[in-house]
């Protein structure tokens, strides 16, 4: 068995593995599912320039054939034995995998929108999540559950983010720009459809995000309403009624829509939380893995020989995830070099 172990076959795990292999270091890449690519496989295009996600994933297509890579698919790691040198990972199926170092790239999961019961997800068919809309965009086919072209769509920002009621007080960062990207893509596919975005405030942190936001208004006539949704109901004809407050004009608002898209935020994956709990790894207040510090050791854990890559430590864009994975790979290489001396 190879010594360096990477848990998670999303883009963070793939990028870490790619760099380590490039340096001639053998890697065991462990993925709990049956396909590589993680959450990125759910996306058609990426903000801010609409790069096809397949293009990014394509960078890793030759990775599995690398002879220095041992790929373990459908393998779920349950525990780490810290008493051995190197550490030993034990899978659910009883496989023992040496890990020195170990890079944790277990990613994120999206917020379960059913917990915001007042928004009607899982209750009214016309309420979908941004992940489900992305699949429709990928298929170039956006229809209501009743097979009709939606004449009006409302995007709801910050679903499961910045919301103490559901226990997620943090900002997921990417949902604002994703909503704008999806709104534009929807408008391109359905030019006659009215689109409204309900936001708390728009966090356009990227260099070109603000331009995309302005473009959405000017070129695509997408309407932005500052206000949170309070309630969704369904009418007898199965259209939706939403209630919100327009906080710029200070008045309550009621609107009919054919479809509601909930911009679900990023959460630490259940696997990460359980894995951390059972193996004594530190997690932060928001459920993500806690790096050694937030400045020059964001890929290091509190434990020697264990590193983090990507969204296992918090919400990140694809570009940030790749950069963070590279930092994790570099930290792992430095760690190995230090051990040799």
């Amino acid at each position: 068995m190879k010594k360096i172990a990477v848990i998670g076959g999303g883009i963070a795990g793939l990028e870490v593995s790619r760099l380590l292999l490039q340096e001639g270091l053998p890697v065991t890449l462990i993925e709990k599912g049956s396909r590589l690519g993680g959450n990125l496989r759910n996306y058609a295009h990426l903000f801010p320039d609409f790069t096809p996600s397949d293009e990014i994933l394509g960078n890793y297509r030759f990775l599995p054939s690398n002879s220095d890579l041992q790929l373990l698919m459908n393998t779920q790691i349950e525990s780490i034995d810290f008493s051995t040198q190197p550490y030993t990972l034990h899978s659910k199926d009883g496989i023992a995998i040496p890990a020195d170092p170990l890079i944790i790239a277990t990613g994120y999961q999206v917020f379960d929108a059913k917990l915001k019961e007042e928004f009607g997800y899982g209750i009214y068919d016309g309420v979908i999540t941004s992940v489900e809309l992305e699949k429709m965009i990928k298929q170039h086919h956006i229809v209501t559950p009743y097979g009709k072209i939606p004449r009006r769509i409302a995007f709801i920002h910050c679903v499961g983010s910045r919301d103490a009621k559901v226990g997620n007080s943090y900002c997921s960062r990417l949902c604002c720009i994703t909503a704008i990207k999806q709104a534009i893509e929807t408008k391109k596919l359905l030019p006659e459809t009215e689109i409204f975005c309900f936001y708390i405030d728009l966090r356009m942190y990227g260099l070109t995000f603000e331009e995309l936001y302005l473009n959405a208004q000017k070129e695509y006539n997408i309407q932005f309403v500052r206000g949170r949704l309070s309630e969704t109901s369904e009418m007898i004809d199965k259209r939706l009624i939403i209630k919100a407050e327009d906080t710029l004009i200070g008045r309550p608002l009621q609107m009919k829509a054919d479809m509601l898209v909930l911009m679900v935020g990023m959460e630490a994956s259940d696997f990460s939380k359980q894995f951390a709990y059972h193996n004594g790894l530190e997690i932060g207040d928001h459920g993500f893995f806690q790096p050694l510090n937030q400045f020059n050791a964001r890929s290091k854990s509190q434990k020697e020989g264990i590193f983090f890559a990507g969204t296992s430590i918090g919400p990140m864009s694809v570009a940030e995830t790749i950069e963070h994975a590279r930092a994790a790979a570099l930290s792992a290489i430095s760690y190995l070099k230090d051990k040799e001396y």
């Binding site: 019961e117 007042e118 209750i123 109901s233 009418m235 007898i236 199965k238």
Partner: protein
């Protein structure tokens, strides 16, 4: 049917939430206004507890108001409210009971608010203890359990269901009756964990309807206030707000042609019932196709009716919106002449001049 409520096929998180409802030895706290408007409702609840569920309860005549209406209208100070509630608890302690069962949703909201305030701010509890001792010489302990009377009917819905003489089925068509549930705002909107099903989709009434053969109608303004709103109604100048909010609900439920409205709150029961009449008299609008309006029942009235109690005995003739068409749909046997006579007597001189 497209308009049916399709809850069972979907996952609703709050649906799994079940609060602790005591199963016997109840200390019953009455409503101030119910016995005036719907005189049979509370008595029906006690009949059901005693004769059908064989439960022990105590209906203590020393209890007075919870001050909820005054409190929500800003004329009762918080300290006074706390002290009065403490007195009720003291009386309950004295009677040897610890399971508090409340008839009124306003009182239920007040009690849960006071208990949560005392929990969050223990100094207010200590102050209340001092105030009560100083004013009445009494001490008190907190109830072990607190539940609304509709929670008890919910808890025993299946046991009651086995004893039903009538089902929520149209006698003529054999179709389930379409029922709109209206759960009082203060039942679970203040503290969702105190209500069966939480705040967004409380199921305390909808599950009762389903258990007894009816069909629950989900409609857009299901969660909207009945219009009471305390100050909205109690201050005469703002009474239009009360009426207009009730109107929003009626307009929203009308397309579904409900057979009746089921409530668990004395205020809601009254406003859903009376405002239909006011809208009919002032605007000429009726929300049912038979021209009578949509009947409004409380959960105890419904339970008693289906258990075979005489509609006259449970005071249904006192309802402003005519209940007779519903009684006929259910096939209930009773003296219609006597019912009509009593209804005419109780509703004389109630015509509103336009």
């Amino acid at each position: 049917m497209a308009q049916n409520y399709t809850e069972p096929s979907k996952k609703i998180y709050w649906k799994d939430y079940v609060k602790n409802i005591p199963d016997d030895d109840y200390f019953f706290f009455r409503s101030c206004i119910r016995q005036t408007f719907f005189p049979g409702a509370e008595q029906a609840f006690l009949f059901i507890l005693k004769n059908h569920l064989h439960k022990n309860y105590f209906d203590d005549p020393r209890l007075t108001t919870c001050t909820g209406i005054g409190y929500h209208s800003d004329i009762i100070p918080l300290e006074t409210l706390h002290t009065l509630i403490a007195r009720h608890f003291s009386i309950m302690n004295e009677s040897g009971y610890s399971n508090l069962i409340i008839s009124c949703v306003t009182t239920f909201g007040v009690m849960t608010e006071v208990l949560n305030t005392w929990h969050e701010f223990p100094e207010t509890l200590e102050k209340t203890r001092k105030n009560l001792l100083k004013t009445t010489g009494r001490t008190f302990e907190l109830p072990k359990a607190i539940a609304h009377a509709s929670d008890i009917i919910y808890l025993y819905k299946d046991e009651i269901g086995k004893q039903l003489v009538y089902q929520l089925v149209n006698k003529e068509t054999s179709e389930p009756l379409k029922v709109v549930d209206h759960v009082g705002c203060h039942y679970s909107k203040i503290f969702p964990h105190h209500g069966i099903g939480g705040a967004e989709f409380p199921k305390v009434l909808s599950e009762i309807i389903k258990a007894w053969g009816g069909e629950v109608i989900d409609y857009p303004e299901r969660r909207h206030c009945c219009g009471f709103g305390f100050r909205q109604y109690l201050i005469k100048e703002s009474r239009g707000y009360s009426l207009s909010h009730a109107q929003i609900k009626f307009e929203s439920m009308q397309p579904y042609h409900p057979d009746f409205i089921l409530t668990n709150c004395p205020g809601c029961n009254m406003f859903m019932d009376r405002w239909q009449y006011v809208i009919q008299e002032t605007a000429g609008k009726v929300y049912s196709s038979d021209g009578n309006g949509i009947p409004v029942l409380s959960y105890e009235e419904l339970a008693a009716l289906l258990l075979g109690y005489d509609p006259i005995q449970i005071g249904l003739f006192m309802h402003q919106t005519e209940v007779l068409p519903l009684l006929e749909k259910l096939g209930i046997q009773f003296d219609k002449n006597e019912y009509s006579k009593l209804r005419a007597e109780s509703h004389h001189n109630t015509k509103i001049s336009r």
